[in-house]
Amino acid sequence: MLQSFIQNIFNALQWGSFYSLIALGYCLVYGVLLLINFAHGDIFMVGAYIAFYVCMLFLGKFGIIPGMPGWLVLALAVPLTMMLTAVVGVTLERVAYRPLRRKGVNRLYVVITALMCGLILEHANLALLGASRRSFPTLIPTTVYNIAGVNITNVKLGVILVAVLAFFFLRFVVVKTKIGMAMRAISYDRFAVPLMGIPADSVIVFTFVLGSGFAGLAGLLFAVTYPVLDPYMGALIGWKAFIAAVVGGIGSIRGAFAGGFLLGFVEIMVVAFFPSTLRDLIAFTILLLILSVKPTGLFGVARRTKI
């Protein structure tokens, strides 16, 4: 019983890592623009596909470059996937969100545009690459460590570690750096910031680079862990990560991180000890209760500024 419980804690940490990584992206964009970037789940999906093609390229499957060993491919794929996914995120900002922002339309329209962008990404993938699923190559062989009856794999440890590092990195960027200060300033008052000589657009682009880059990282790790890719893989997990970010207190990095792990934890524990049909019911009832007690989420603070 105790072994199962500890095993499930590790399962939950791994599953929660994905929610957290995606929730961090929602949180950054929302924090700066007050925009819920509903395309984020699909950017995560694009990240997984980019990772797939990057890895296939480095493994020598396309014949342009000779094959490399798996660990080297992984090491090269991480920065490259993050960069390329960031390009996709920034492109979306450029073609969809910025023109709307320039015209000064209501935020509602931007949110709807974001939803639409997500659908475009999904169906562009379906149209260009077909409905058949892809199998992500095995880069590093999975090793199972059995510690007192608890099975932990190197992949699992890696995923959890990366999620934690990503959290500390983003927190450092937002809290300690100058550009982080600019991000917070835009969040506080978008119209006064340019008057202070801060290039608001560059800061917003930087935010999308960070958010999408980490979605790409999540996509890569997800593909390594669950090596079957399909065009709709980002939709549901994106929605759930968004809910996790809201429960954590959207706009708070700590909140997004905690919310992701909370959701992962509840989902895994429900499945472990109850029938799986109850999973979403119990998980979201708990989240709803949290929100009804604390509507701003676990780490959120009520906004008092008028926009």
């Binding site: 199962s4 699923r133 079957v228 709709y232 895994i268 799986s276």
Partner: protein, 389 residues
């Protein structure tokens, strides 16, 4: 539009009448040439054309010393239920076929079966495993086994092959096929090994990718074998995650494993695993091998289970035609005679196994299932056949 349709209809009727006069037997095909699963329609048509050519080249079907040539009418059901219904009606009332082969999937076979039964024309579905297709329909037959048979076969195989005393099951509770099959497996396994011998009966929901909590329970349950009646996109995830949870025992699957690109997605992790299905191409012998070789030569690909089952179903119907007595030309009489002849099919030797129909009750063949072992090259090889009881 209507005019051209009527014209086409008249043309069909006109061409049909002299065809009958020239001693031919006309069978209809209600198959998906377009829509979601065009591959299934293609396999069916390939098989049918191959068989027709073979028989017609030999001078036709010999019935009581008289030669009849075969004539096949292909009707596209677009893999839709309503199109399958209208295709069945058209084949029976306008094309005046003696019997119908198809539809293939249960989604189309269940409604089309109702139409065929109402219009009193024999129909055989090669591939539909849903019990409702033939249930209470004397004119409807099938060429494959039922899901209620497949589960017990898997349970029996797990017990005999792996010496399993305890089994675990993981399945998608939101999908009818895996759900039904998982329950059938559980009932059969507990019948053999006693109540409570299915020590873990874990569920998930369509589109889930993380099964770690369920597999933790399964790994801890002490099960000797894991049964998972899932599709080719979920099997790799289940198999891989089971390994990372320290579950290194055999994993067993169902006929859904054979469709799609299982090995492309699963790779090395699925090698050495077993699943229950209708037939195995690799390592086949005798008549089955002859069929596979001929088909491969003609169409440049290995026939799938649909092609093999279609081949058998046509032959089964033609076997009935041979035994039904003289063909009178009175559609109603002939169709009923064919039904009667098919009902009494006994030990029909097909390439997917021996088939007999039970004269009483529904027309589901009593046949053996094939257990396939995925070999080291990733090919689905024949391992053994498991028969009912």
């Amino acid at each position: 539009m209507k005019k051209s349709l009527l014209g086409a209809l008249a043309l069909v009727l006109l061409t049909a009448l002299p065809a009958f006069a020239a001693d031919s037997i006309k069978l209809g095909f209600n198959i998906p040439m377009t829509g979601d699963i065009p591959d299934v329609g293609e396999s069916s048509k390939n098989s049918a054309e191959m068989l027709k050519k073979k028989i017609n080249d030999a001078g036709g079907l010999d019935i009581g010393g008289k030669k009849y040539t075969l004539e096949f009418v292909y009707e596209d059901n677009e893999s839709k239920a309503e199109s399958a219904l209208s295709a069945a009606r058209k084949l029976i009332t306008q094309d005046k076929v003696l019997g119908i082969i198809g539809p293939q999937s249960s989604k189309q076979a269940v409604p089309a079966g109702e139409a065929s039964n109402e219009l009193k024309a024999p129909m055989i579905s090669p591939w539909s495993t849903n019990p409702n297709t033939t249930k209470g329909r004397p004119f409807v037959f099938r060429g494959c086994f039922l899901d209620t048979f497949q589960g017990p076969v898997a349970a029996k195989f797990a017990t005999e092959e792996f010496g399993a005393k305890k089994a675990a099951v993981i399945y998608d509770i939101a999908s009818d096929y895996p759900k039904g099959l998982a329950e059938d497996f559980k009932a059969a396994f507990e019948k053999i090994n006693g109540p409570g011998s299915v020590v873990a009966f874990e569920t998930f929901t369509t589109k889930d990718v993380d099964f770690s909590a369920q597999l933790t329970n399964i790994a801890k349950s002490g099960a000797d074998v894991l049964f998972t009646p899932q599709y080719y996109n979920e099997v790799p995830l289940i198999v891989k995650q089971a390994k990372s949870m320290g579950f290194n025992k055999p994993v067993l699957g169902s006929d859904s494993w054979g469709s799609g690109d299982l090995m492309g997605l699963c790779g090395d992790d699925c090698k050495g695993l077993f699943f229950v299905t209708h037939y195995a191409a690799a390592g086949a012998k005798g008549k089955t091998k002859e069929f596979i070789d001929e088909y491969t030569k003609l169409y440049n690909k290995t026939p799938d289970d649909v092609a093999a089952l279609t081949w058998d179903s046509i032959n089964l119907m033609l076997d009935g035609v041979k035994r039904m007595g003289p063909i009178t030309g009175d559609m109603e009489k002939d169709r009923d005679a064919l039904r009667k002849a098919m009902t009494s099919t006994k030990d029909f030797d097909g390439i997917t196994g021996q088939m007999s129909f039970n004269p009483e009750g529904d027309h589901d063949p009593v046949k053996c299932a094939v257990v396939v072992k995925i070999d080291d090259a990733g090919k689905f090889g024949f391992y053994k056949s498991v028969c009912p009881n």
